[in-house]
């Protein structure tokens, strides 16, 4: 932990307004409402909050990167760095600060690297701009930097293009670029959110090591309180543009005095117990920190439940052309077998590229299966004719990951929900269909006025509710949730998980719950299937897997979960 000293950067009463309508000068939206905090030298400060909390806007304000056409920083706001107010600096002075004294890494490494230049060239660009190095010196420095951020074979990788690197390596390159000029302050905006758990752990460790070695400060922005528990010295919790809580890591995690901080910590499904329902933000906002739910739901199978879907030896290979005649086989999934009982949940866990999504899509016959069979009530889905499958199709539905892409932007919610009804001739008349749709909206907890609205008028969580409702229109037996809650904020995630739980109880749906998030899978599932590189490495009741993981890969996954959340939860329940 760092020794307290003069702050490196201090934000004082920062207020940022966004103009929503370019014609109307008065249509303001206050994104940041008077935020003050300090970043001491040589320490890590975590800025935590959900989407819309103003955390990224704060970071952009520090770098002077707010969009000038609709963002205004209100007078009185100050961002002091080295005795100068960054908000009043001329553009040229700011530009020389950026990348040299203050640098930034972003959430999506793939889209933050320019795809047409080699990574070496992109790192060298920073060096040329700020350090005045000759090309040869710059090249040596690039290799040094790549080596420092832990990229194997740095000399060869420096002439690689971004698409030739994995997500974790791309993020390492971004970090190398950010530390190229030995900045005093590194701003990391959700640097691990798009990465797998094991990679996330590596990147966090790398950031911590670099921070220590270069004696720089890190402003770490994230929505996940558990992540920062391991690396932050100070924690600032934001909500709706205001600071809810601020303090040292110890103080915030061991004795949170703000209810919102409590809520954030408790919305995450715990690993060690399984409450009936997850706490949602609303439970906390009346001012008190309720004790965690004590009623525990039982999960797991006894073995005698009626099986609705049995998959045997499912395999899917993709072929890439190689040479003139050669075909290279890539096994996206093979030898996958499981049984899914009615009204139960099968969790599928794995990192990106493990083949978990392929299994889901193959079951819906969006990919032709290469081997294996899928017995749905005793009949093989893969052998059915197209016409026959059409009747079964509606009984298996899928909820996608990205609620922003999965709804047709040109349709109203009513149209989206009645489309399947129309196609399958359910409901008969328009009036009856409208009634059915309204019933569904009520089921997923959306108001009736939603019927005439367009998807973009809804938040991520609400859109995911709409997507779930669309699946329910066809009264499916099996719902495949493909990373359905991964893109949502922690508190919204809890709401959607509760909804899925309720729907399962009501309609006795079977879920195939695909996710990279072990805590969520553990919470939802009766059985868990752990996949790695297209193969099933472990398949057992969920408590079994979490208590006694057999396969080394499963153990590695479990170890990579940030444990800060558990720590605090233990303390709250002890009080």
């Amino acid at each position: 932990m760092a020794v307290e000293s003069k702050p490196l950067l201090s934000v004082h009463d920062l207020r940022v307004n966004f103009r929503l309508d370019k014609h109307d000068k008065n249509s303001g939206f206050a994104a940041v409402k008077g935020v003050s905090f300090e970043i001491p030298e040589n320490s890590t400060v975590a800025l935590v909050g959900e989407s819309g909390s103003g955390k990224s806007v704060t970071a952009l304000a520090i770098l002077g990167l707010l969009p000038p056409e609709n963002a205004t920083v209100l007078p009185g706001s100050q961002i002091l760095y080295g005795g100068r107010n960054l908000l009043e600096l001329p553009k040229s002075a700011l530009r020389s600060l950026r990348g040299k004294d203050i640098s930034m890494i972003f959430q999506e490494p793939m889209s933050s690297l320019n795809p047409v230049f080699t990574v070496g060239y992109q790192i060298a660009e920073v060096l040329r701009l700020h350090m005045d190095l000759t090309p040869r010196q710059a090249q040596t420095r690039v290799v040094e930097l790549l080596n420092e951020v832990g990229i194997p074979d740095p000399a060869a990788k420096s002439i690689a293009y971004p698409f030739q690197l994995s997500g974790g390596q791309q993020q390492r390159v971004m970090i190398a670029m950010a530390i190229a000029c030995n900045p005093r302050l590194l701003i990391a905006d959700e640097p691990t959110t798009a990465l797998d758990v094991t990679i996330q752990k590596q990147i966090l460790e790398l950031l911590a090591a670099l921070q220590d070695k270069h004696r720089m400060s890190v402003l770490f922005i994230t929505h996940d309180l558990a992540v920062v528990g391991e690396i932050a010295d100070h924690v600032v919790v934001m909500r709706d543009g205001e600071i809810r809580e601020r303090g040292t890591n110890e103080a915030v995690f061991s004795n949170p005095h703000d209810t919102y901080t409590c809520a954030l910590l408790q919305c995450r499904p715990p690993l060690d117990s399984r409450p009936r329902r997850l706490a949602v933000i609303e439970d906390f906002m009346d001012g008190n920190c309720p004790a965690p739910e004590t009623e525990v739901s039982k999960r797991g199978l006894s073995g005698s439940e009626p099986v609705i879907l049995e998959v045997r030896n499912l395999g899917k290979s993709f072929y890439t052309r190689e040479g003139l005649f050669g075909n290279r086989e890539f096994k996206a999934a093979h030898g996958v077998s499981f049984k899914l009982p009615r009204g139960k949940t099968l969790g599928v866990v794995g990192e990106s590229g493990s083949g978990k999504t392929t299994v889901g899509l193959t079951l819906m016959r969006l990919h032709e299966a290469t081997t294996g069979e899928a017995l749905f009530e005793g009949r093989d889905l893969f052998l059915m004719s197209k016409a026959e499958f059409k009747n079964y199709k509606r009984r298996i539905q899928i909820v996608f990951q990205n609620p922003y892409a999965s709804l047709n932007p040109r349709f109203t919610v009513g149209q989206i929900l009645s489309e399947p009804l129309l196609i399958h001739g359910i409901g008969g008349s328009d009036a009856k269909r409208t009634r059915l749709v309204n019933e569904l909206l009520e089921h997923v907890g959306l108001p009736q006025v939603s019927y005439h609205k367009y998807p973009h008028e809804f938040s991520g969580g609400q859109r995911q509710r709409i997507a779930i409702a669309r699946c329910l229109t066809m009264k499916p037996d099996i719902l495949i949730c493909d990373e359905s809650v991964s893109a949502l904020d922690v508190s919204v995630q809890a709401q959607v998980l509760n909804l899925l739980q309720d729907l399962q109880d009501e309609f006795s749906l079977s879920y195939i719950f695909i996710s990279h998030d072990l805590a969520v899978v553990k919470y939802m599932s009766d059985q868990v299937l752990v996949m790695n590189q297209g193969e099933v490495v472990e398949y057992a009741n969920s408590d079994e897997i979490y208590l006694r993981p057999q396969h080394p890969y499963t153990q590695r996954l479990l170890n990579a979960i940030p444990k800060a959340g558990e720590r605090i939860r233990g303390k709250i329940s002890a009080n």
């Binding site: 929503l20 939206f29 819309g52 539905q397 999965s406 489309e419 196609i423 399958h424 008028e457 997507a467």
Partner: protein
């Protein structure tokens, strides 16, 4: 970001009424609509509005300058052309033909091109190769040459000129649509619709096409001017509107030699073409925005 909703109405307004409301918020689009309406009005009532007949030649008033210039006469407000016809009247009568050429050839190429592009983008594979290579061949030929060839096959005449221009412009729309469709096809909502059991026709026209309209509308409004000018070029070559038919493009083409000595003969047809293209462009922009639910508050 959720914009605050002023008043939650229980019954939403009729879709057309709503479209009109959003359309009106764009002043440029309203101006465009106004000009287009004016042009349509001129076309419909040309006989009563025009001070002279389109083909009548006044031998005493050859190449008369506009009324406000020295030597101009209030009889011919915008002056006369080399054979003594009133330019204003010819412009008014020309509205009919030029608008017709623009509208017919643009809708022809837009309609067919969009469907071809949609088929190519949706089915990919052999269908795509067949359609897109054909389009590439058409793009490779100089457009005027291709149009001349088409007119030569169909025979000269205004209607055939419109067909020819429609065919020449068609590959642009096919290419644009295909690119947009391929982009949209990979989105999850298309997959979701397919999982709901939607057939290819519903997927293509109901689900994907409305999401591809933005570039098409812009291209169509720009294509309008291309159509008028191409028609003029064909007329100049003796394949389109024949003198003395009043048509803007033909008026422009036939008066090129006077650009130094009598500016008004060339300038006014050019201005009218510019104005109408601008109007259609503004109208198209406004329509694109009004049709996009994402831009609504």
């Amino acid at each position: 970001m959720n914009a605050p909703h002023p008043a939650e109405k229980s019954e939403p307004p009729h879709p057309l009424l709503e479209l009109w409301r959003y359309f009106c918020m764009n002043r440029g689009a309203l101006a465009g609509l106004g000009i287009v309406c004016l042009l349509l009005f001129l076309a419909a009532f040309a006989e009563t509005i025009a001070p002279h007949a389109a083909a009548e030649q006044y031998r005493d008033a050859i190449l008369l300058p506009p009324a406000w210039q020295e030597g101009g006469s209030s009889r011919f407000i915008l002056g006369t052309d080399p054979v003594g016809r009133d330019i204003l009247s010819r412009l008014i009568y020309g509205t009919r033909l030029s608008l017709l050429i623009g509208i017919v050839s643009v809708s022809l190429s837009l309609g067919i091109g969009t469907v071809l592009g949609l088929l190519a983008g949706y089915f990919r594979g052999v269908t795509e190769i067949a359609i897109m290579r054909l389009m590439d061949v058409m793009l490779a030929l100089p457009s005027l040459l291709l149009a001349v060839a088409v007119v030569a096959i169909l025979g000269p005449g205004l209607i055939n000129v419109m067909y020819a221009i429609g065919i020449v412009l068609l590959p642009h729309y096919a290419r644009l649509t295909r690119a947009a469709v391929i982009g949209e096809m990979s989105k999850d909502y298309v997959l979701a619709s397919r999982l709901a059991g939607a057939g290819p026709l519903r997927l293509m026209f109901d689900c994907v096409l409305p999401n591809c309209t933005a570039p098409l509308i812009v291209q169509a409004t720009l294509g309008f001017s291309a159509a008028i000018l191409d028609a003029a070029a064909l007329g100049f070559l003796g394949l389109g509107a024949q003198p003395p038919t009043p048509e803007w493009g033909a008026m422009l083409a036939s008066a090129l030699e006077f650009i130094q000595s009598a500016w008004w003969v060339v300038t006014f047809p050019g201005l009218v073409i510019l104005l109408s293209v601008l109007a259609f462009n503004l109208l198209g922009d406004g329509l694109r925005d009004a049709l996009d639910p994402k831009l609504k508050l």
